[in-house]
Symmetry: C2
Subunit: 259 residues, 2 copies
DNA sequence: TGGTTGAACTCCTCTAGACGACTAGGTACG
DNA sequence: CGTACCTAGTCGTCTAGAGGAGTTCAACCA
């Protein structure tokens, strides 16, 4: 049985924080394992002799830290760590495309996950100021916008939106829902734009409500944002891809020369 | 005057969420500017005709989203976006060291910030399993551990801990609090280890209570974690640096060849 | 002038209780 | 046997109120 300890009313730290501290320790030290259920609110009310809201404040703290998730009608459970996936910086290298797989598919399969893609939407829009800037286009020039959601083992792990200049996509399968073997990078190269390099801009923040829904995460989980720009051998930007990933599911690896 | 709207008791969405939605919109559309004060709890209680806890739930929601910060005795304010700093992947290139500045100092000054370092602690410890693994050491071999906190314009922005094999640091200023011009990388190269490349592993998560305190952020702000390993021209790992950054203050830039 | 006090305002924490909604398991009925 | 219902247990939301503590500023006093 779990040792819930006691709270000390004389000390400076408020009771709800003390309770959160106790539970947090149990989780961090593994005495409350991932997936395991926390004591119910009622049990903690009895044990600590506090009001309902006090216990709920403690649980809320752990929820915003992303340590636990509450399930209405069932209980509060220690978050089960999703599989962490390491993304190497060469994941877009041409050799990974040669057997006809897109980067995500190849990488996820190699890591032993069942990959999936859904919610694919393809539109033709006027470029926003930021996208035009990154692609070196005139404002309002038209771009193909491809957005989709990626799944690993059936769980959503990232949503991504790509922007490709219409001038490059014209006459290719890029504007189709199904882009064919090797994905859009294969099509871009077939269109005569040999890929030379990418730049990636990485940041992190809390998700918007829309992103929370798409990624099926609670408000305590941050997201990694990654904006990748692909350049061809002539130095022209041929694609911008804006990706939002569930932060706890990824480690991004980069190799940097010291020069 | 701000239009606080009204809540609709007949609709499915609970009042505290409706209030949060209204405030969130005001913030996102700029009608509540960064640094501006939200209506007080009492004002919102009157306006919406709800109980205290309902208003507080709404504010709590915005706090965990990192949109606002509460100041005891003063009010709740829209979070003023901290200056975002872009870190280029070549920030450790040798040329940035040649005028005797460490990477952080040079980069922050170039970006127009007043850099600072404090809480420097230097110890000599047995390597943990993970550090030994990364440095290619035998378990329990000794390493110099350097931890410090970096400030920009007086505000803490990152904490970092470096691990250098004692065999490399011996006889250098690396084990001193003041490492001299160019920082530890200059000392490592002087010791005969010319730096060839780095690997960086980037991830994001919510901060621990300790990190929250050191970085002076609330529980709604995620952190970026960056583990950098430096290799010399012989392929030997000469340093591991574990960095925790305030996520909203940074954009990391990487350049990736397509190969 | 300069320091202190006090009031008014802010958010922080806690109490005690109510009703609602979701889940799971047992039971009674068809 | 299978379905429908009931019930106990869970978390979700709201109310109404209390005392505490940090901040600000004006009024007061020495």
């Amino acid at each position: 049985m779990l040792d819930l300890g006691t709270i000390d009313r004389t000390v400076d730290r408020p009771p709800y924080r003390q309770i959160a501290d106790i539970l947090r320790q149990h989780i961090e030290r593994g005495r409350l394992a991932p997936g395991e259920q926390l004591p119910s609110e009622a049990a903690m009310i009895d044990h600590y002799g506090v009001a309902r809201m006090t216990v709920r404040e403690a649980i809320k703290e752990l929820r915003t830290e992303g340590l636990v998730v509450a399930q209405h009608g069932k209980g509060v459970f220690v978050r089960s760590a999703p599989p962490v996936r390491r993304l190497a910086s060469d994941r877009f290298a041409r050799r990974h495309r040669q057997d006809g797989k897109s980067a995500f598919l190849a990488e996820a399969e190699a890591a032993g996950h069942v990959p999936g893609v859904d919610q694919i939407r393809v539109t033709n829009e006027a470029a926003s100021a930021e996208v035009a800037e990154r692609l070196g286009l005139k404002p309002r020039e038209r771009v193909i916008v491809r957005s989709r959601r990626y799944l690993a083992d059936g769980r959503p792990v990232e949503v991504a939106t790509s922007y490709i200049p219409e001038s490059i996509a014209k006459g290719t399968a890029i504007a189709e829902v199904n882009t064919g073997p090797g994905g859009i990078y294969a099509r871009i190269e077939e269109a005569g734009h040999e890929l030379a390099r990418f730049t990636e801009e990485v940041s992190a923040r809390m998700p918007s409500p829309d992103e929370r829904k798409a990624l099926e995460i609670g408000s305590g989980s941050p997201v990694l944002t990654l904006v990748r720009t692909a350049f061809d051998t002539k130095g022209r930007a041929v694609e911008v891809c804006d990706t939002v990933k569930v932060a706890t599911s990824f480690v991004l690896e980069y190799d940097v020369p010291a020069k």
